[in-house]
């Protein structure tokens, strides 16, 4: 017994030692690690122009990042062509952000995503974003804070916005899930350059994989309200000052506008459910429960009394409903169901297989009723 054990151990060591050179080495100092790709359709040729942001882990070089422009018909050819201009071996393993220029996002971005899904080396948690100008210009913005390069900055930028619940998250996995889910369209952040610095300034509404419209930063709140849950969100509402006339303890002259009352609510928690009330007539009912605290008021109102507090809550409900009707109405015009009405419709109509195209035909005709319940839990440390 002992003899055979020894033999086994010796054999294992022998095989391990002689074979450890069978695998191709990837020495990190010799790699150009891509952190972001930008893609634009070249108007003159059939090819795509790619912008590749590279990063090197090498303690000897001070400027560890570089941007390479290359072109090719496919994603992988762009990577391979970029390698012609670099002494480093370009690899996709750390890819964090994919950005599509307007020329591609208006035609459909899905064809470019296949290799991301197919290649096991690429993470599913990278962000998919759309630029409102050619990505070549976007990614040459030179101010990217203390980030090592623009790719990492872009990733941080989007991640911060997602974590603070400002935009709807659109990782590659989530994008694909919305794309494949019948009755739900993907959303993507839209990036733009302001003062030589990239910023998120809107989210794009997609129909399947085509960008059809945008929502401003204020309107994103309503999309997110129906699509996701808030845990610590924030919203600013503008109300008519006349409605609160009787409650205002001391009127101050507001230079912003004389008859508006600005309210900011934060620590906002929400729970929304979409229900189908009539599948034939396409009637939907949306129940939303919101709670939060008032953090800013442009006029002093004593919220400690039930009267003004009730009034405030009902005004917020009315405001949110108005805005929701507008945002949903616009997405119906554009034919992009980013809220997931179709998912609930599909669930309510068992047995009939709904396709994405069917739903895009039906979606503009749906009617939605809103029941909104707002509760102001706190209002800071003043009355």
């Amino acid at each position: 017994m002992r003899k055979t054990n020894c033999l086994g151990i010796i054999l294992s060591f022998f095989i391990l030692i002689t074979s450890s050179s069978c695998i191709e080495p990837n020495i990190i100092e010799e790699l150009g690690i891509v952190t972001a790709y930008g893609f634009d359709q070249n108007p003159d040729t059939q090819e795509i122009d790619g912008t590749v942001v590279l990063y090197q882990f090498n303690p000897d070089i001070t400027d560890a990042s570089q941007i390479i422009h290359s072109s090719g018909a496919t994603f992988d050819t762009i990577r391979a062509n970029a390698n012609k201009q670099s002494g480093y071996q370009i690899v996709n393993g750390q890819l964090q952000t994919l950005i599509f220029g307007p020329t591609i996002s208006e035609e459909g971005i899905f064809p470019y995503l296949d290799t991301i899904e197919r290649n096991a080396a690429v993470s599913d948690m990278l962000y998919v974003a759309v630029a409102d100008q050619p990505t070549r210009d976007l990614m040459s913005a030179s101010n990217y804070e203390e980030a090592p390069n623009i790719g990492i900055y872009l990733h941080r930028l989007i991640e911060t916005a997602v974590k603070s619940e400002v935009i709807v998250s659109s990782t590659f996995h989530e994008f694909m899930r919305s794309y494949f889910r019948v009755g739900l369209d993907p959303v993507v952040p839209i990036l733009t350059v302001e003062d030589n610095k990239v910023e998120v300034n809107a989210i794009g509404m997609m129909q399947n994989d085509v960008l059809v419209g945008t929502l401003s930063m204020d309107e994103i709140f309503y999309a997110r309200l129906l699509r996701d849950r808030f845990k610590e969100g924030r919203v600013e509402l503008t109300m008519n000052l006349d409605d609160f006339d009787e409650y205002i303890t001391q009127y101050v002259n507001d230079p912003r506008s004389e008859d508006d009352l600005h309210v900011v609510i934060d620590q906002l928690g929400s729970r929304a459910s979409i229900n189908v009330t009539d599948t034939e007539a396409l009637n939907f009912e949306v129940d939303i429960k919101l709670n939060g605290r008032v953090i800013e008021l442009s006029q002093r109102i004593n919220l400690d009394e039930p009267g003004p507090l009730k009034k405030m809550e009902s005004e917020i409900e009315r405001q949110i409903e108005e805005n929701l009707i507008e945002v949903v109405g616009r997405s119906q015009e554009l034919g992009s169901d980013i809220f997931g009405f179709g998912v609930q419709y599909n669930n309510a109509t068992r047995g009939q297989s709904l396709t994405t195209d069917d739903w895009h035909d039906l979606f503009p005709n749906i009617n939605v009723n809103y029941n909104i319940d707002v509760e102001i839990k706190r209002f800071g440390i003043v009355q």
Partner: protein, 370 residues
């Protein structure tokens, strides 16, 4: 020939059956299973699993009933005493071939994991050489080492189930509705696919004589089956909620793809580690299969167990070298599944009438003596 006389120091306790049978069932198949069952039964895959679970538990009850008819013998011994030495040898030989193809399909599938996920250029002979050396080492140590290795590897890998909390946090509950859309045929097709995944319990046929406390065999084998079923239910339900329909249908290994989103501050991509760790999930399969192959061959042909072990390892090494692409891997996996349907699930029920007959006859004899 029919009664095996196994010394006490080579026997194991019945409680280990829980882990041994469970690790035999969970292997390479589980990584791709959610997609396969979803293709058939869709969102109602859980119903397929329930159907398969009922059949599985009945099959185990049947196997244990037959084994309990005789004390201290394995399938080969039972068949020999009932139908004579020729048929006994023939059917055991069929099982040997079946287990060998299973052995090969595990190796081929694992090589594919490694080449797709981590090292595309790693040569397949190297992976199989590494695996087969370990198998050789464990099986040469005897049944106790083989079982001990599977217990260690079981605890080395079971914690990975806890990592599913990350995909669970990203579940989309709309993915489970509408329910009850699949028709009966689809559910049965799904149950058939499920039965491929939970194969491996047939090892009980050959492990039985080595168990010390036979009265507990039934309890622990059934518990092992229940644990396996619970595990594949969780994995399947998480996959369905995590992916949209079109997405799940396109993933070859949904379970490994789900691991792609897991990331630790010091470890960016967990799926790389998961594939490496998958080796310790499949090693118990390989070790126990190799043990069974060699011991049964010894029973049939009567040479030393060691020689058969070397022979099978060598054949496996040569075979994997020749069948090294996705087409063959699929083909082998399908063969194992098809054969398993008959050898795993149908075969015990065919033997059941004979076992009942033997028992009734045995009782009559006992009564006549009195």
């Amino acid at each position: 020939m029919s009664q095996l006389d196994i010394p006490l120091d080579q026997k194991i306790k019945a409680v280990y059956l829980f882990i041994v049978l469970h690790t035999m069932q969970i292997g390479v198949g589980i990584a791709g299973y959610p997609q396969l069952v979803f293709m058939e039964a869709g969102r109602d895959s859980w119903m397929s699993i329930i159907v398969a679970a009922i059949v599985l538990h009945l099959t185990i009850a049947c196997i244990v009933f037959i084994l309990n008819t005789h004390k201290d013998t394995d399938l080969h011994g039972i068949l020999t005493s009932w139908f004579g030495s020729f048929i006994g040898k023939l059917i055991t030989l069929v099982f040997i071939v079946y287990f060998f193809i299973m052995f090969l399909s595990v190796i081929l599938n694992y090589i594919e994991f490694v080449q797709v996920f981590i090292f595309p250029q790693m040569s397949s002979w190297f992976i199989s050489a590494a695996l087969l050396t370990l198998v050789l080492y464990a099986v040469l140590g005897g049944i106790r080492v083989a079982v001990g290795a599977s217990i260690v590897f079981f605890f080395g890998s079971i914690w990975m189930l806890g990592l599913l909390t990350e995909p669970i946090a990203l579940l989309d509950y709309d993915g489970y509705f509408p329910m009850f859309e699949a028709d009966m045929r689809a559910i049965l097709e799904g149950a058939k696919i499920t039965s491929f995944t939970i194969l491996g319990f047939e090892l009980l046929w050959f492990l039985y004589p080595y168990i010390h406390d036979k009265s507990k065999v039934h309890r622990y084998s059934q518990l092992a089956m229940a644990f396996t079923i619970a595990m594949i239910t969780v994995i399947t339900m998480v996959s369905i909620g995590f992916y949209a329909q079109g997405q799940l249908e396109s993933k070859i290994w949904p379970l490994l793809s789900m691991m792609k989103i897991i990331s630790f501050p010091m470890f960016e991509r967990f799926d790389i580690l998961a594939v490496a760790l998958w080796m310790i999930i499949i090693l118990p399969n390989l070790i126990l299969l190799a043990w069974m192959l060699s011991i049964s061959s010894k029973r049939v042909f009567g040479w030393k167990q060691k020689y058969f072990l070397y022979l099978f390892v060598l054949i496996a090494f040569i075979c994997q070298y020749h069948f090294d692409n996705r087409h063959y891997v699929n083909m082998f996996t399908d063969y194992v599944g098809q054969a398993g349907m008959y050898l795993g699930f149908l075969f015990p029920f065919l033997l059941l009438p004979f076992a009942i007959y033997k028992r009734v006859k045995g009782k009559k004899k006992a009564n006549a003596k009195n």
